[in-house]
Symmetry: D2
Subunit: 347 residues, 4 copies
């Protein structure tokens, strides 16, 4: 059967390499190009006995691809999205450039907090003219918008974990009004990218653990708040990421106060994600090992004992490079291209 | 100069071994005995060229020691404390058996929440007759009680980190009434003891991260709540520990809402801990590497941006085996024995 | 298409679990039973959403399987092999019980050293009567014998790496007469099995590296020497294994003196392994990352500069649980069952 | 008591930082300056509550120091040694620039192999005029030369481990004539320096193990061969280093054939190193944990069973940053300055 050509920009980073490997193993896609600026000319093994060579970004024919994954640095991506769109190809953008809350305001904590969903909070205009809108590609939230789009803003890795943890509560308006959702999340080092920073050397990361972007300063807060706003959730968010001495994986530990007691909290997650191919609802707190190298989020909601107000700790684990980046990007690309959403994805 | 003989019960565990090494390097203490049940007869190198042999617990002369460190399993320690006390020797008990909130109720969230401190919450009766009281040996909180005691309940490792993080707020009644203190903490595997459990094998822990004792079920909650109650803090506590793929170290990430805005929050910690030899107040979030193999807690308080109510994230890092166990136990032993509190401790 | 039922004995160990996962993903096999003694009743997730429950070994119907993988402790396996054979089912035995050199002498360093191969060195009688012979299932060496056998002795993990490294030299009689083949090999901790030994705890293995079974004492030496003897190689073997702080993978660094200079040494390996689906010949020394989770051996032969006699360092990397255990076992099972040798194996 | 001012050039690397910490804790030394080029202006905590600031190399007054440690990149060090010597200060050079075999030929495998020692092989002329000779500062080999020198070439980390392992055999002429000493050594990543290379990122090193500088290409071979030549050892050396996923530590596994059988091999090491403060002779193979953060080499010699010729495996473990770099440099500096060799060193 004819294969659909797709390209990867930023192919030498961790997410880019993961994308190349996923595309190489995909039954209906083929790699039209894999571009990398600093590492052009270097080789990457994809699959058992196949190698690709990174092309210079300016040397690739964008028009060769029906869809392009842009795995470029934040800030550098938007212009490439525009260039790709000019060829008519679709784009899944893994940077934050087109995510909600980044380029337009999305802080609207509305008065109603009934879980009604206003998707307009999650559409970002593309390009100078802005006549095209990119949906926020948290697939389980925006499947229909993604399937209809030509440009998709792929969510941040932390945001994917936190939002899937919160979705059943947001949809039901169950987050207590005026409360604070407190999130401590931890990520493996590939989340920081394949950048030779001294603080990411093995000699610095091993046997260590530390918080960063403290004080609510992380880039992904904007998109998380945008989704909360889209659901009119009237709550604050306190998000603290940490750097783990592991290669892959994110665990988000989400503390959330409920508007009212819920008898069997886990049933909400089971109800919402029952048919989802890439969300697992577990009885016990998930661990990174449950999810690495898989395109899944594994979630458990645990009631906290000894609290005056009904409070849950919701745990969500993902592989930051798969469900948190390349896997979800491919999930969205499958939808954009009209393929089975699960095709070529390791569950 | 004459050296003071001290003994170690439970010497073969991680905390016990750390105690033996600290005692061996201490200028005024000497090891009278090191007892270990299952590992009796095994050798341990302490210092450069010296080895000790673990004795059977029933074979040691408890009376040989002026002070005994009990590093025994929870539940097994109380009876040994009584046996040691019968010889007249003092005890620092590293188990939870004599910690507040464990054997007597300490849940009294009082009406006043002005930071006034009621030490009676933190005294635990010792032995059958209970005519002796063991103070809770968080040294920076209870230095005077410890110095006057013959039995000290050494705090749990997590509790040490969390309570030192909270102390300046508790003392000033600054925790918001009715709020929830949300703590996500992570510990290296030595916190789980030197027990050959399958889930603690390298092959299971490496490249993993997971929460445990979820839903407010951890043993250390009782002592943390007892200290909160002693300060009449009217707040809930939600504590979630995680297992880190590192050998040593705890990082507690403590989210706390303030009763009122504080202009320069870090100044509270600096004020309270200025003269403390074993607490460091940092401008930036501490990491495990800052504290491993040192008897210090390193703390930073960071205001959270974008919150409706004044909220801090307070980070506290300790070495779970040093400030979280053996080091703090020696700090307390120094006080009980009338020595300089800092003697023999790696700062 | 009808699936062939296979069973796993010793299913809860690392190799056993890997076998269960491989069987679950195999297009032509299905799991008839998975037995584990100490962990009977526990659950194992195989694949995305499927769980199996370990049965008690005595409760399984051995006759339900057309082929049984025995992943049992050394010494315990032989009797189970006999029980399985009594039902008519085939067996791939992952223990050392049926490997050459273990139960019968195989030290015959013959006088001719021309690379001629005497397979009789590598056949082990099965059961009390010994009228059935188990070939040594280093697939790339004994493909035909395996395909014709009903019992196969699966090689040890280290032996797999070392022997594949040496095979082109052994076949050509190129190992220098009277020389010493010096092997330093290092394995991830899963090589030691899923056994809760204190020395395998994360707290003991992390940040460490050490040799073990020193002085030529490792169990796998017998089978390595047996293969050398089968080729009449007149050389000594010095083998030193080391324990790595990684989960999976073996790297064998093999120093070998040649009988005569070879112009392009790597060409020997390329010639021998050109059509092999599971051996990769590389220009540069392989690393564990090249092979983990794959059923391949990756090999590079590097001439040593500045030596009086022609000497090579041959590097071989495998995943100890895949090509070194479960993967090679499945490779052999495929042959025994008349299936494509590569079916269901991750290359 | 008056403290002796010493300086550190290249203070921001791993060895440089270790030197700063050792000097800060030394009872008779004080830090006159700590210079670092790219990281000038950055801070380093040395000891509990003290910080230093890295100066620009050209901004320091070399004459302020009585002795300077040069922890500079290979190639860049020699000129700084000359500049320091012009001020009259002594130098311990941690680079390879002044090590034997690097700048002058030292390949002379002599005819006699009786263990006689010709120190001239191990002296390197300093500066343009070359009228000053730097001894090779393997302290246990050249204690007297070091004590009399003003410039010392500190050995490479691998060379320190391998040569201490071999010294008792070299001294006795016990290495078999014409044999090959085969060394497989493995080092933690700090051995590669504090350089942000992509291949040293945590995400690349964790869960990996690989050889490098294969084919006898490592820089330290020259100095190892020079010492062999100084003892007229008539043997080849095959040295293969590997990169370990640990922060610190080297283990060298040295296979060596003996000229004649030795009844109790370990007794040779015990005899030679009995009075040495920084060499431990062990009955069992040492592990990295035995030596990290200590200025010791721990060595065990194990006879290999089943060999035609008498063969030993000698294991030597050191901390690459302490006995392999900064610690041995301080050991040498103590000698140069007329202090107790062991002063300020963690045994």
């Amino acid at each position: 059967m004819h294969k659909i050509p797709v390209g990867v920009l930023g192919a030498s980073g961790y997410a880019g390499r993961e994308l190349c490997a996923l595309v190489a193993a995909h039954p209906r896609l083929e790699l039209a190009f894999a571009a990398a600026n600093e590492r052009r000319g270097e080789r990457l093994r994809v699959g058992a006995r196949r190698e690709i060579v990174f092309a210079a970004p300016d040397a690739v024919q964008l028009a060769d691809a029906a869809l392009v994954f842009a795995a470029l640095p934040h800030g550098a991506s938007a212009q490439w999205v525009a260039r790709v769109r000019a060829t008519g190809a679709s784009v899944v953008d893994l940077s934050s450039d087109l995510r909600p809350g980044t380029r337009h305001s999305a802080d609207g904590n509305g008065s109603s907090s009934d879980g009604s969903f206003d998707v307009s909070h999650l559409l970002t205009p593309v390009g100078e003219e802005g006549d095209e809108l990119a949906p926020y590609g948290l697939t389980e939230l925006a499947r229909e918008q993604v399937a209809a789009a030509r440009v998709v803003a792929n969510p941040g890795c932390y945001a994917t974990a936190v939002l899937l943890a919160l979705l059943p509560l947001l949809r039901r308006g169950l987050v207590a009004t005026g409360s604070t959702i407190s999130v401590a999340a931890a990520s493996g080092v590939t989340g920081a990218g394949f950048t030779p920073r001294p603080d990411l050397l093995f000699g610095e990361v091993a046997e260590d653990f530390r918080a960063y972007a403290t004080g609510n300063a992380h880039r992904h807060m904007a998109e998380m708040r945008a989704v909360m706003a889209a659901f009119h959730a009237d709550a604050d968010l306190l998000f603290t990421p940490h750097l783990l001495p592991v290669t892959r994986g994110i665990l988000a530990t989400v503390t959330v106060e409920l508007r009212e007691p819920v008898a069997d909290p886990a049933s909400l997650w089971r109800a919402d994600f029952d048919g989802e191919p890439f969300v697992e609802v577990a009885a016990e707190a998930p661990s990174l090992r449950d999810v690495v190298r898989r395109n899944v989020a594994r979630i458990a909601a645990v009631p906290a004992a000894g609290m005056r107000r009904p409070t849950l700790t919701v745990f969500a684990a993902i592989d930051n490079l798969v469900k948190g980046a390349a896997g979800q990007a491919l999930q969205n690309a499958n939808l954009v291209l009209g393929l089975d959403e699960a095709m070529g994805l390791p569950a």
